[in-house]
């Protein structure tokens, strides 16, 4: 099937199998390997991306379902070589260790902060509760998102 999607501001057209998962479209067709796969059950959130402004798990959407959509992945967070406030926050607050959950975590946080720019700590914790991290114990991820919220709020 023919699909057209915008990914990180660039338009892509491709003919794909109907069963191709969106995450595999991003990773294998577009070679955007920053979006990861951690489970098969929509549980871990490593594959989270932003589609039409909402954080979604790209392992549970078919590429054809994203037809006509506007996608943001981790590769599109930094603009003109300048890191996004979330990327800066994760670095400053040591919000990542192995880095595998990090792109999904940041994309979820990206959509979350759009809807709730000044969240409480508990709201952040609930906001990322669809994303699993095995390394950090979440403490510094929460701080990283707070950092981004504060930075974005003051800019």
């Amino acid at each position: 099937m023919h699909i057209e999607v915008t990914v990180n501001g660039t338009k892509h057209a491709a003919d794909v199998e109907p069963r191709l998962l969106l995450v595999h479209f991003l990773r294998e067709v577009l070679n955007l390997t920053g979006t990861h796969i951690g489970c098969d059950t929509t549980s871990c959130g490593a594959c989270s991306i932003v589609l039409n402004g909402r954080a979604i798990k790209s392992c549970t959407l078919l590429a054809v379902q994203a037809n006509g959509g506007d996608i943001l992945t981790v590769e599109g967070l930094a603009v003109g070589g300048k890191l996004h406030a979330l990327q800066e926050g994760f670095h400053e607050q040591h919000g990542l260790q192995c880095g595998f959950c990090t792109p999904g975590m940041m994309m979820t946080a990206y959509a979350f902060l759009k809807g709730n720019p000044k969240p409480t700590e508990d709201e952040i914790r609930w906001g990322i509760s669809g994303n699993l991290c095995r390394c950090t114990g979440y403490v510094n991820i929460v701080k990283a998102i707070q950092y981004a919220a504060e930075k974005t709020g003051t800019e």
């Binding site: 979006t35 990861h36 490593a46 880095g99 959950c101 914790r125 994303n131 095995r134 114990g137």
Partner: protein, 781 residues
């Protein structure tokens, strides 16, 4: 402005972050080679069955499916079986019998990932189910179903240590004896990245390049050479590359059948073969952790003096003993189970047992069975406190090994390097406000509310290890560093370990920076490529800092000695006139007459002293003189919901002492993560099997990893008791919290319920389990 050195003790931001933050990490599934094929695996629905027939015709009829590989195919090349680290053997693919549910049965090779999966689904296997034994105690009964035809029984080995007669005597004469059966169930590390590989055989060069999720690339290279040497795979032409690793926790130490099938397929077909397991395969078939059934006893005086310890343990290993332990330690370092206490007598025995379950016995973020040891000693210590109506903190204080007793020789033979257990406990008690909490608990109990306080004052044993005792398949457990200083004063340092999130690219650079005065920013750290890095045993068991980190310091000091000679030559003074101060060579008493390492490095290539070799580099293979013994005291406060049975961790204070900290920010991050992996098995995670050997909890839908919501807001504290034998006094920290935390949580729950007659609850302490207890006691809300 000159760059900061960022040596020891600086919370330098991590150097490796940049690529991970921008989606440029290179993990195994990101590797794509020209002509690459995909492997998918057919797995057994039965826990024990004869394979009557494998019909691959429908799979082979699918366009794009190139081969279906079975155990009979591998057997022709002597590859159907492989040795385990514990001198047992494991099937790569079965020739005729499967021994656990989800076991690999056949490999399907196809041109595309989805087609390989189609092929795996189309392979038809006819099974003849056999009787299943799941319970290790039943497996030990004389008429039990035998798991292994090639073994006399399901009993694998008996291991014991300590003085049995003296310990038994102490128990006979004891004023007080407490005894509990403690089960530590199977759990799974569940790194967010699963395991996988790309095996690439170059038939022209006769070279295998193996990209692989491994924590120990060098050891893997040697294992491949030993296992497949007869097929022409020669160690100098095997390159193992461990790319960025998405979490390891011990789960990426073993050699899984999928890796071997991928190698075999690549050699047979002559193209690169990628294998990436999915999450269910990862949980259901990869190595498990724990599964220890421990009967723990303490003999004590009425005043609380702990005298003797006795542990009898049944270890469920699944169908083969594929534990990841040093070769001489079938039960790992379990004999550290006397813990932080000054026992006079102890006897510990473990019996390994075969069952129809997947093999394993890996760490789950702990050093070789240390969590099992700590979990049991810390729980039974609390039982003793309750039994004697003593405060558990007071009982611990009474029995702690005292600071002046270090180095302390434990009754089971370990020499603890250093410690100040009371210091850590005091700090934890102050931080959490222990006395006030006890008052609050008494008030709440009077009102019928359930609140508990649990302590765990653990001692770990990490950094394996001294070559006298520690080896894996005969290879001594040293680790290595190789440092090369470039003419412009920058450096590259390579190691035999492999970071999986621990931040080696930063902390190793800081160690070298501290020793040589080169900014950490200017030191490139490389690991994980066996063609370039010096040989080492890898990263697990909190060994990187104690071994490879030590090697970095020793290698850097060798460089500094040569640099001193060059500096003396440049300054036209004798070496004795120089002192190393403020990261420079300075002429004593002559301010300003000095040489930086950068100046020396340039001279090492441009103007080195006559008769001296050019260049500035060194290598060290560090054989630690002893293990290191990190410790800490954790205190947990829980509230129990009488209506739902839910255990809510209200506060958790963790005081850790890992000696000198290289990067406090990274250390704290390690502790946060470790605590969460201690919380997980205490309250949420467990893998169980029904009587037919069907796994319960084989996906993330029913194996629950804590999210940010369940995870408490960890509070951390620090004491510092350096290791006296480590080059810069560090001990290792990656696993302490996972080792120490579960017992604190369990002890808090039992503390909340002891007055109702509850002595013990096995983990995971689920709401349903607690509610049943409350209901039985007539207090459920």
């Amino acid at each position: 402005m000159a760059k900061e050195i960022h040596g020891m003790g600086h919370s330098m931001k991590r150097k490796e972050d940049a690529r991970f933050l921008q989606g440029k990490g290179k993990y195994i599934d990101d590797i794509k080679l020209p002509g690459m094929l995909y492997l998918d695996i057919v797995r057994s629905p039965y826990a024990h069955a004869k394979i009557k027939n494998i019909d691959a015709s429908k799979a082979m009829a699918i366009p794009g499916v190139l081969a279906v590989i079975t155990g009979k195919d591998l057997d022709k090349y002597g590859l159907a079986w492989m040795p385990t680290l514990m001198s047992d053997k494991q099937m790569v693919l079965p020739i005729d019998t499967v021994k656990y549910q989800s076991q690999e049965v056949a490999g399907v090779i196809a041109a595309e990932r989805y087609i390989a999966a189609d092929g795996a689904a189309a392979v038809e296997v006819e099974y003849d189910p056999l009787p299943v034994v799941v319970d290790p105690f039943k497996a030990l009964e004389p008429d039990a179903t035998k798991v292994r035809d090639d073994k006399p029984s399901n009993h694998i080995w008996h291991w014991e240590t300590g003085d049995k007669a003296a310990t038994d005597l102490a128990f006979r004469n004891a004023e007080v004896v407490v005894k509990e059966n403690i089960y530590i169930p199977r759990i799974h590390v569940c790194s967010i990245e699963t395991c996988g590989c790309v095996a690439s055989w170059d038939s022209v060069e006769g070279k295998l390049t193996m990209y692989m999720t491994t924590q120990a690339p060098h050891a893997i290279r040697t294992v491949i050479a030993l296992v497949a040497g007869h097929l022409g795979l020669s160690e100098e032409r095997i390159q193992v590359i461990s790319p960025d690793i998405g979490g390891g926790f011990g789960g990426k130490v073993p050699v899984y059948p999928g890796y071997v099938i991928a190698i075999a397929a690549s050699v047979l077909i002559g193209k690169p073969v990628k294998w990436i397991e999915d999450r269910m395969e990862n949980i259901q078939a990869d190595s498990f952790a724990r599964d220890y059934h421990i009967t723990a006893e303490i003999a004590a005086k009425k005043d609380g003096t702990m005298q003797a310890l006795r542990f009898k343990t049944v270890a469920d290993h699944g169908y083969t003993d594929a534990a990841a332990n040093p070769s001489k330690f079938p039960a790992g370092l379990f004999s550290v189970c006397t813990g932080s206490y000054n026992f006079q007598n102890a006897f510990v025995e473990v019996d390994g047992v075969y069952t129809n379950k997947p093999p394993g016995g890996i760490a789950y973020r702990c050093s070789f069975r240390v969590t099992e040891a700590v979990h049991a000693i810390e729980q039974i210590t609390d039982v003793l406190a309750h039994e004697l109506k003593m405060d558990p903190a007071e009982l611990r204080s009474k029995n702690f090994i005292k600071p002046e007793q270090f180095p302390y020789k434990s009754v089971l033979g370990w020499e603890y390097d250093s410690g100040n257990y009371q210091g850590a406990l005091d700090l934890a008690m102050n931080m959490i406000g222990y006395r006030e909490l006890r008052k609050e608990q008494a008030e709440k109990r009077a009102r019928g509310e359930l609140m508990g306080i649990g302590i765990s004052s653990f001692t770990e044993i990490v950094g394996a290890g001294p070559s006298k005792h520690f080896d894996i398949l005969g290879i001594k457990m040293f680790d290595s560093a190789e440092i090369r200083i470039h003419p412009t004063g920058k450096a590259i340092a390579r190691f035999g370990t492999k970071s999986q999130g621990q931040g080696h690219e930063t902390t190793y650079a800081q160690i070298v920076a501290e020793e040589l005065g080169i900014p950490a920013e200017d030191i490139q750290v490389e690991e994980g490529d066996t063609d370039t890095a010096p040989y080492g045993l890898g990263t697990y068991a909190s060994r990187s800092t104690p071994t490879a980190g030590a090697a970095a310091a020793v290698a850097a000091r060798k460089i500094r000695e040569k640099a001193r000679k060059i500096a003396a030559y440049l300054l036209e003074v004798s070496e004795e006139d120089l002192e190393w101060k403020d990261y420079k060579f300075q002429v004593k008493g002559v301010p300003g007459k000095e040489k930086t390492m950068q100046e020396v490095a340039f001279a090492a290539y441009t103007n080195h002293p006559p008769g001296m070799e050019a260049g500035l580099e060194a290598v060290n293979y560090y054989d630690p003189p002893n293990l290191t013994f990190p410790f800490g005291s954790y205190i947990c406060v829980v509230d129990i919901d009488k209506g739902t049975g839910e255990v809510k961790v209200r506060r958790f204070v963790a005081v850790d002492d890992c000696g000198n900290r290289i990067n406090p920010m990274i250390v704290e991050g390690q502790i946060h993560g470790g605590l969460t992996m201690g919380l997980a098995p205490a309250l949420y995670e467990g893998i169980f099997y029904d009587e037919q050997g069907n796994i319960q909890g084989g996906s993330f839908m029913d194996y629950m990893l804590p999210t940010a919501v369940e995870t408490p807001k960890w509070e951390t504290g620090e004491t510092c008791t350096p290791s006296p034998h480590h080059p810069f006094g560090a001990k290792g920290v990656g696993e302490s919290a996972t080792v120490g935390a579960p017992a604190a949580i369990v002890n808090a729950v039992v503390d909340a319920l002891w007055h109702l007659g509850v002595r013990r609850i096995d983990i995971p302490i689920t709401p349903w389990k607690v509610w049943q207890i409350l209901n039985d006691k007539g207090v459920a809300g």
